[in-house]
Every structure is written in structure tokens, then in C-alpha cells.
């Protein structure tokens, strides 16, 4: 029952998001052609005669009535066809995949890191609450967490790229160097990944840490912790085996949601490091009124978020036997 309401909810959300992104852009001034044919502030003006303009509109199916367009679009989605990007002049799905793999790499790596770190540190600091390590961790993590990601990114560029020249300031790969081996390419990708990922990790670790710490403090008061101690278990062991699992329960959902949102949220970091990704793609799609791409990007992002929710539920069930059986 609960499941069903959830799923219907998700479907509803997708529909809302889709129609929102379908209609809002079309209600706003400007259309995809305005960029195609040289919009203000661009370098070369292209003067379109009305006939050509009309032809172009027909070509991109923008002359049909909105209801028709919407119907076609929905139909397309059902057939897994996201349409043709007007600005990029390529299938939306291809473009999305191209950007998504980078975003996933970035988000995936940093999420893995900041979650593990955040959860561990949170647990440790809760376990020694009031102690030096606790206060130290608390203050330092809350502090670094306060840096806006884009500012942090700029600082990193100045420090690591300009002053120390340790890491590249932009891009996801050294452009077109002939990689002698896969490992070389992989390491080159990691090398470019380092700064953006670190930025993300630092700006997200604080939140998870705090969640975990609070949840842990609640658990520490529980009787079963005493039981474990009464059995003579070591503190570190109790924390790991008895406390952390229970402490994770209430926060899995929140963590999953954060991760889902990162997919769209990386845009700042992507902008600072000129890292190709969905966020940037979305931004351009908005600027160029590339309706199909805009819709596609939003669909993907929403799907990822919903997926994250599902994963959260799964994990939750895995962690909590009380839900597993019934």
C-alpha cells in the first residue's frame, strides 16, 4: 500500500516536472530560433526572412499547437525518444548520456567519499562527545562546510592550479592526448577529477557529519549499547557493530535525497572548473531555449532523484530487519 502511494507519487512528480518544463519555456519570450539565428549580443547577426523562419519552425515542429506538441512529446518519451536538440543539433539522449557520465563520475566519487568520511567522523565525534576530538571535528567541519562551493572552487584553482600548478584548472580530460594505455587515461581523468570532487566533498561533508553525529548521540543513550558494554565488548567495536547501524537508519533517506539533488547541484562546480556535466548542459539549454534538451535534462535529473529515493528505501529495509519480513 505504502509502496503504491509512493510510486504514484513519483509518477505524479515526473508528470508535474515534465509539464512544468514543457510549458514554462514556451510561455516565456524568446524561442530556440532566436539563438539559432543570432540573438542580441552575439557576434554575427543573421537576418532571417519570415518565410525561412516559418520553415525552420515547421522543421522543429514548433509551429504545431502547444497541446499537439505536448502530446507528441509525451508520446516520444513513452517510446524512449527524448527528441532532437535544436541548439546542439544532435539527439537529446546522446547529449544527455555524454554529459551524464561525467556528472555521475563526479557525483559518484565525491558522494562515496563524503558519505564514508562524514558518517565515520560523525560517529567518532558523537562517541567522544564533549571530548577534544568531538569539539575539534564539530567546529572544523561546520566551518569548512560553510564555504560556498563555487568560492571554494575558485580558491582551489588559485591555490592548486595557479600558485602550485599541481592540478588542472578546467576540463575533465587533457584534450586529445594520445593515451598510451587505459590506465594512463583513467589516471588523467582522475587527475582532472581531483579538484572538483574535493570541492564537492568538502562542501557536503559537514551536513552528513552533523546528521550522523546527532543520530548517533540519540543511539548512544540506548539500552542495547549498555548490554553490549556489559558483555565486555570494546568501545570501537560497540560503536561500529551496535551503534552505527542503528544510527544510520533514520538518516538514510536524507542522505539519499542530498545525493539525488547533487546531480543538478553540481552546476556551480561545473561552471567554476568548466567540467562538462548535466548542470552546465541544463544551464545552456535554458539560455538557448533548447526546449527538447531542457525537458530531457530535467527528466533525467528527476529520475536520478527518484532513483536515489528508491535506493534509500532499499537500504533502509536492508538495515532494519523489522521492515524486512513483513
Amino acid at each position: 500500500m505504502h509502496r503504491i502511494t509512493k510510486i504514484t507519487g513519483y509518477v505524479a512528480i515526473i508528470l508535474v516536472v515534465l509539464s512544468f518544463n514543457f510549458f514554462l519555456p514556451r510561455l516565456m519570450p524568446g524561442d530556440p530560433l532566436s539563438f539559432l539565428t543570432g540573438a542580441p549580443g552575439m557576434d554575427m547577426p543573421i537576418v532571417l526572412d519570415e518565410e525561412t523562419r516559418a520553415k525552420l519552425l515547421t522543421y522543429y515542429g514548433l509551429d504545431k499547437p502547444l497541446s499537439q506538441q505536448f502530446y507528441d512529446y509525451m508520446l516520444g518519451i513513452l517510446h524512449g525518444d527524448l527528441g532532437w536538440s535544436i541548439y546542439h543539433n544532435a539527439p537529446v539522449s546522446d547529449i544527455l548520456i555524454g554529459a551524464l557520465k561525467w556528472t555521475l563520475l563526479l557525483v559518484g566519487t565525491s558522494t562515496a567519499l563524503y558519505m564514508v568520511l562524514g558518517i565515520l567522523l560523525g560517529a567518532i565525534s558523537a562517541w567522544n562527545r564533549g571530548g577534544k576530538s568531538d569539539v575539534g571535528l564539530l567546529v572544523s567541519l561546520l566551518s569548512i562546510g560553510s564555504f560556498p562551493p563555487f568560492f571554494l572552487g575558485m580558491l582551489f584553482i588559485i591555490l592548486f592550479s595557479v600558485k602550485l600548478n599541481l592540478f588542472p584548472a578546467f576540463g575533465a580530460q587533457t584534450p586529445f592526448m594520445g593515451y598510451s594505455s587505459l590506465l594512463e587515461e583513467a589516471s588523467d581523468i582522475l587527475y582532472h577529477l581531483f579538484l572538483p570532487a574535493t570541492t564537492l566533498v568538502i562542501s557536503h561533508i559537514g551536513g552528513v557529519y552533523l546528521l550522523m553525529r546527532n543520530s548517533m548521540l540519540n543511539v548512544i543513550g540506548e539500552d542495547y549499547i549498555l548490554t553490549a558494554r556489559a558483555k565486555g565488548m570494546a568501545e570501537w567495536y560497540i560503536m561500529r557493530k551496535h551503534a552505527m547501524k542503528n544510527a544510520l537508519l533514520p538518516i538514510t533517506t536524507m542522505i539519499a535525497l542530498r545525493t539525488g539533488f547533487m546531480i543538478g547541484g553540481t552546476i556551480l562546480v561545473e561552471t567554476v572548473f568548466a567540467y562538462p556535466g548535466v548542470g552546465r548542459l541544463l544551464f545552456d539549454a535554458v539560455t538557448y531555449r533548447d526546449y527538447p534538451l531542457l525537458q530531457g535534462a530535467f527528466l533525467i535529473i528527476t529520475l536520478v532523484i527518484i532513483a536515489a529515493n528508491f535506493v534509500a528505501d532499499m537500504v533502509y529495509v536492508q538495515l532494519d530487519p523489522r521492515l524486512r519480513h513483513d
Binding site: 525561412t52 544532435a90 584548472a169 587527475y191 581531483f194
Partner: protein
């Protein structure tokens, strides 16, 4: 367990260290001559460089022009020079052009280039008018006849003065044997779509990263290019990329040219200045009161201090604009004696008072004759918000209250087309070419003036240069007098480069093709003696072609290069995970 974690962490650390080392090595490319450049415009992706795939922007056309040639071309002095066509004649009525094509030109795939290709190209482009968005006056072409394999005759519907530049020097010739069965050219991408006659063959193109890589076309009929590889990429900060050596050339214009000062006296860097053939202008709404009053527009013109604008906003890297749109450097079209509306507040106020705009309530803001503060919106783009801020303060002195509204490009475009505005600050390039005069208030559409339109059409069909120049002057006068737009400034442009990589950069007078101000005329990379600008020929530039390691004979451009690295990364991650789990088990 503890051990398990340590191991995992350690491995990760090692990986990162090692890859930073790798990366260091990796950045150093092979010993062939590679030139990397990045435009100053944001974003590096200008579309697939096929005649129908590139985004209709200067940079897009330039990238396409590396692979495709036109019948004529321009040297750095802007004079039309033979290209695919060795010579040509025009009939007296100016309606038929005969071109004698260069012999022995080959397409990248080895097929010979013939007159049939030229004929096919024009027919094809006429057929797919909407697909070739770059240029829209192909209506003048009636039909093309083939005399022999290397002679074509192009028949026009009516005389078209700028034909040699705007059509012959602009339309890329495409191979018939490839395009003849392509029905939708826009969606035709892939290695075949970029086979042209041009000096470079597209090797790789990566959309999401905005990277292009070309290799030299060694059999190029104008001679082997100076560089073996040409790479165009997208960077977040060109100046930074230039210093870190990620790119060898970029250009800055307008306010951003301030960056040049960081390189001018720096060894290992060369700089070249040029005009941008770009103008920033105030577009008035000629249909809405009060901006529909010419006098009112004049008042605003007097109220705006363009020199201060150039000083403060452009940091001096620009010149007050020609009120007739055409860039002053383009001597053959520029009308030097136009009114420039020297900043003059009192005069502005006088004019406004004459129109019964007066500050009756003494709040420093004038009132409409009908009452109510003289206050309206000035719409512009984010990148011109600085200009808008200054103009706002300047007009405040006159007694006009301006509210700056910043919107994104497409919104502004829409508003201009709807005519739902008073004043818009916007800019565009292409002001080296009289064609730009067709719609002075482009991309707006509120200023209609039959006599002007007639005048424009007339000049376009006048084949005699002197006569045509007269008409072009008239057009500029009309703009300067009626002020459908008030031009603000022409930014300067400067390219900064590493001479040891390539020293032959130059700005084409009048712009590449139909007037693209970018310093990437393909001649730069061919460096034929007579057109090479600087006598200085950097040793690296003259590196003997033979020594360079020859790349793969046939280019295999891939629109979306594979990223095998991904698998590896995921594999590594997977391994780490496994290792971790194993150790964890052990420690139990």
C-alpha cells in the same frame, strides 16, 4: 576490518598521487607541431564543423572553414584573392559570373574536385536553404551552369554587388559524391560529413567538452599547413589557460582585453591588436512614445557620454562608435563625417524642454508633458549590465530616470521582436560589411522606413563601386540622423599567442568571410609568403615538414569519442570495494 579500511584508503591515495604524476607527463604531447587555441567567448562547442552542422556563429563558421574551401577568399588586407577559383569574370549586367577553378584539387578522401561539385553545392544549398542558416541571401542565385570540368557559370536573378565576398567567398563547396543522397543535411554528421578540400581534416570532435582536433591536410593545394595538429578547446579562464600553457593562443576583446596587459611585456608571448567589427548600440522603440520622437532620441544621444563609457567600462580598449554603424577601419565603406552627438547635458535638456519635458516638481526627474515622472526601463543582457549602469547614471543627470532590467539573451530577443520595450542595449558584429545596414536596429524590428529600405536594395544591386559607396554613405547618414539606434562603442580586440608555437596570427581586414572579426583566417595556418604579416618567422614555425611524425593517413573523426577510461575507473573502484570486503571478511 580496521586493516581493510586502511588498505582501501591507502590504495586510493596512491592512485591519486600516481595520477597527478601521470597527468604531469600526459600534458606533454608528442613531438609533432601542435597548436591549441581557445576563443574568448564562453563555451567551446560551436557545433559539428560540417557546412550544415556548425552553430551559426563566427567561431562556428571559422571551425567549419578549416575543412571546407570557397571559390574566393580574403587576405589580411581584405582583398579578395583566388582560392578554389583561380580567376573569374563578371558580365556587364553583373548577373553572370564565370569561375575558372583550380586544377588538381582533391577532396580529403582523394576524390577529385570538379565543376560538378560547385554546381551541386549551389543547387543543394538552395534546396536546403533553412539548413544552411549561416547566410540567407542565396535567393540571388538563379542557376549554375557547367562549361567544362573546371569552369562554372553562376547566373544571378539580379545584380548582387557583394557577390564575390558574400557568396563566392562564403559558401563552402561540398563534395557531390557524398552529399547527393543526404536528405536532411542538418542531421548528417560523422566522418563523411566533414570531408572537404580544406587545409585541415577533422580528427576528433567532443561535444560535451567542446574540443576539436584537426590534422594537417598534407596534400592541400595551397601548400602544406604550418602545423600538424590544430586543437580548439573550451577553458574557464583563457588568460589562466594561456599562462599555464594549456593553450597557445586566445583572444580578448573589449573590457576583457585588460588581460592582455598581463602578457604584453612577458617573454614567450606575442600580442596583435585588431578591430572587432563589433558594435554596442542602444536600440530605440520607434513605435512607442516617447522614444518614437526623433528629437527625444537625439536628446538621449546627447545625454550619453560615450567617451566616459569607453574609459570606465571598456577600460579604453575600444573607440566611440561610428553613429552610422560601419566600423571606421573599413575605409572603403565608412562615412567619416557623421554627427557624433558629443556629450552635452544642457543641449539634451534643451531638446527635452522643447518637447515639454520639464522637471516641474524639482525632484531632479523630468515629467511627461502629460504628467508623471519621465521614467522607463532600459533592458539589456547580463554582460552589458555595466554599460547600462553607467548610462543610467549619465541620463539621471539629464533628468531621465532609467530602471535597468537585465534578462537573458533569448528573453531580450523575444522582447525586441514583440516591440515591448523603450530602450535596449545590445550589440553585434559584422559591421565591416554594408549588408549589416539592411536592418540597423537588428534584432529589433520597430523602425520601418521605406525610403531607407529602397536605398539599401539599390546599393546592393549597384555594381559600380563609387556609386555604391555613395549610397552606403547615404544609408549611414540616415541612421546617424534618424537614430533608430544610437551606437555606443567599437571594442578593440587582441590575440595573445606563444610565438614559438605559431607566429603568423593576423586579423583580416573587413573580417573573415562575410566579416568574422576572428584572427583565424585559414591563411594564418598556411602562411603563404605573400600574405604572411610579420617578417619574423619563428624557427619553430619553419620546422621542416619532413621531420614531423606523420599521423594516420586517413582521418577517422569521431563525433563522440569513446571514454574507455571510464570502465577503468569503475573497475578500479570495484576492485577497491572487493579488496575492502575481502579484508573485512578476513578480519572477522
Amino acid at each position: 576490518m580496521k586493516k581493510g579500511k586502511n588498505v582501501a584508503v591507502l590504495t586510493l591515495v596512491i592512485l591519486i598521487l600516481e595520477c597527478s604524476v601521470f597527468g604531469g607527463i600526459a600534458a606533454v604531447a608528442a613531438d609533432e607541431k601542435v597548436v591549441k587555441f581557445a576563443g574568448d567567448l564562453p563555451g567551446g562547442d560551436w557545433g559539428y564543423p560540417s557546412p550544415f552542422g556548425f552553430y551559426p556563429r563566427g567561431p562556428g563558421y571559422i571551425r567549419m572553414s578549416f575543412g571546407f574551401d570557397t571559390l574566393t577568399w580574403k587576405d589580411q588586407n581584405g582583398t579578395v584573392i583566388p582560392w578554389l577559383a583561380d580567376s573569374w569574370e563578371m558580365s556587364d549586367d553583373g548577373k553572370t559570373w564565370t569561375f575558372h577553378l583550380h586544377e588538381g584539387v582533391k577532396w580529403h578522401d582523394g576524390e577529385p574536385f570538379t565543376a560538378k561539385d560547385v554546381q551541386f553545392t549551389f543547387d543543394y544549398i538552395k534546396k536546403h536553404k533553412t539548413s544552411f542558416k549561416w547566410f540567407q541571401t542565396l535567393g540571388y542565385i538563379d542557376h549554375v551552369d557547367i562549361v567544362d570540368d573546371h569552369t562554372v557559370v553562376i547566373h544571378l536573378t539580379e545584380p548582387f554587388a557583394p557577390f564575390l565576398v558574400d557568396i563566392a567567398g562564403n559558401v563552402p563547396i561540398i563534395p557531390e559524391h557524398i552529399w547527393k543522397d543526404v536528405s536532411d543535411p542538418v542531421k548528417f554528421v560523422g566522418d563523411k560529413a566533414v570531408i572537404g578540400t580544406g587545409p585541415f581534416k577533422l580528427l576528433k570532435y567532443n561535444k560535451e567538452q567542446g574540443y576539436y582536433e584537426w590534422e594537417a591536410n598534407d596534400e592541400y593545394f595551397k601548400g602544406k599547413p604550418l602545423v600538424d595538429k590544430l586543437i580548439s578547446l573550451s577553458v574557464n579562464d583563457p588568460a589562466l589557460a594561456l599562462t599555464t600553457g594549456d593553450i597557445d593562443e586566445t583572444s580578448f576583446w573589449g573590457r576583457r582585453a585588460k588581460a592582455v596587459s598581463a602578457f604584453e611585456n612577458k617573454s614567450g608571448f606575442g600580442t596583435r591588436w585588431g578591430p572587432s567589427y563589433w558594435v554596442l548600440k542602444v536600440i530605440f522603440n520607434c513605435e512607442r512614445y516617447p522614444t518614437n520622437l526623433t528629437a527625444f532620441r537625439k536628446a538621449i544621444a546627447y545625454g550619453i557620454n560615450r567617451t566616459e563609457l569607453v574609459e570606465l567600462v571598456v577600460h579604453g580598449y575600444g573607440i566611440p562608435a561610428n553613429t552610422g554603424l560601419i566600423h571606421p577601419d573599413v575605409t572603403e565603406w565608412y562615412n567619416p563625417d557623421l554627427p557624433d552627438y558629443e556629450h552635452n547635458v544642457t543641449k539634451a535638456i534643451e531638446i527635452l524642454n522643447a518637447l515639454n519635458f520639464t522637471d516641474t516638481d524639482g525632484d531632479g526627474i523630468m515629467e511627461y508633458p502629460e504628467g508623471g515622472d519621465l521614467e522607463f526601463n532600459l533592458i539589456t543582457l547580463d554582460k552589458f549590465s555595466r554599460e547600462a549602469e553607467l548610462i543610467k547614471s549619465q541620463l539621471a543627470a539629464v533628468g531621465i530616470k532609467i530602471n535597468v532590467k537585465v534578462m537573458d539573451m533569448s528573453t531580450v530577443d523575444g522582447i525586441l521582436k514583440e516591440g515591448n520595450f523603450f530602450m535596449v542595449i545590445s550589440g553585434h558584429g559584422g559591421i565591416a560589411n554594408p549588408n549589416i545596414l539592411e536592418k540597423p536596429d537588428w534584432p529589433g524590428g520597430t523602425c520601418k522606413n521605406e525610403t531607407y529600405t529602397a536605398l539599401f536594395k539599390e546599393q546592393r544591386e549597384t555594381m559600380d563601386y563609387k556609386a555604391r559607396k555613395e549610397l552606403v554613405f547615404k544609408l549611414q547618414e540616415s541612421i546617424a540622423e534618424n537614430l533608430p539606434v544610437y551606437t555606443l562603442y567599437h571594442p578593440k580586440m587582441c590575440c595573445v599567442y606563444r610565438p614559438e608555437k605559431l607566429d603568423t596570427w593576423f586579423f583580416t581586414k573587413g573580417g573573415v568571410g562575410i566579416g568574422i572579426p576572428i584572427e583565424m583566417n585559414k591563411l594564418v595556418f598556411i602562411g603563404e609568403e605573400e600574405v604572411r604579416p610579420a617578417p619574423s618567422l619563428a624557427p619553430a614555425a619553419s620546422a621542416s615538414p619532413g621531420t614531423t611524425s606523420a599521423p594516420a593517413p586517413t582521418p577517422i573523426p569521431t563525433p563522440e569519442p569513446e571514454q574507455p577510461g571510464f570502465e577503468v575507473i569503475f573497475a578500479i573502484t570495484g576492485l577497491l570495494a572487493v579488496a575492502y570486503l575481502v579484508l573485512r571478511r578476513k578480519n572477522r
